[in-house]
Symmetry: C2
Subunit: 123 residues, 2 copies
DNA sequence: CCAGAAGTACGAAGAAACTCGAACATATCG
DNA sequence: CGATATGTTCGAGTTTCTTCGTACTTCTGG
């Protein structure tokens, strides 16, 4: 995964109230190949699924997920998800909380998120 | 992409008439991570899109696509798509023809193929 | 101010993917 | 049979991931 697209610091949700999002690709720069590349990593797919299925209305810091991996590994994977355009990250004091960019992804690739949370048919 | 799942030589379409498919994962062994990994390569995503949008009813040999890459590279990418469960390949005399496993993919991951052929919104 | 907590940055080592040439296999056609 | 066409296999070189330790930064709470 290489970061080539242009990045911006967007301010969608109530500027002044929420911390600014970390640099991320704009909606139109989200590429399907990058999405697929990011989601081909099992841990990263799990992160997105967990956010979609178990998060309640709020963003979650990476400690919330309960992964037993070194912190630097988690940084790496969350950054990969952010740079692919899958999550938005905001700094709240010490912790950095993530949420799925649901609106952007639904607008750009309708059906993608449904695909990720659908229980795969196991006959 | 590593090949770990069990493989079988399935015989879905009129055995005796069509050549046997090359070894491929069974429908239930198709994994989302593997799909995503395969489609994160731009050329491979193009192959699937071209098959879905431009193929008329038949399988296509890799010469049909008109890629200007060494033959060994094409072999590599078609094999990756087959091992991920995205395409089925059959040997017709000299040439090896590929088609998307539409039924299997629709059954296992509804919406996936629609996602691949949807024209991404470019405002 | 200091200690602890959350996370980053850097870098290195190993694994995996990508690209491609060269040699080989096999089917078809004249 | 020999030439050609399609595609494979093998191997090497290069690049990209992945993992993780270490050191560093920054915020928060006493």
């Amino acid at each position: 995964m290489v970061m080539t697209a242009s990045f911006r610091t967007n301010t969608v949700d109530a500027p002044g109230v929420l911390p600014h999002p970390l640099p991320e690709p704009s909606r139109d720069d989200i590429a399907l190949e990058a999405i697929f590349g990011a989601l081909s990593q099992p841990l990263r797919l799990t992160i997105i699924q967990k956010l979609l299925l178990e998060s309640e209305q709020y963003d979650h810091a990476c400690g919330w997920f309960g992964f037993s991996r070194p912190k630097s590994s988690l940084t790496h994977h969350f950054k990969a998800l952010r740079e692919a355009g899958l999550i938005r990250q905001r700094q709240y004091g010490l912790e950095r909380r993530s949420r799925v960019r649901i609106e952007d992804l639904d607008a750009r690739f309708p059906g993608l998120l449904d695909l990720l949370v659908a229980r795969s048919a196991q006959p």
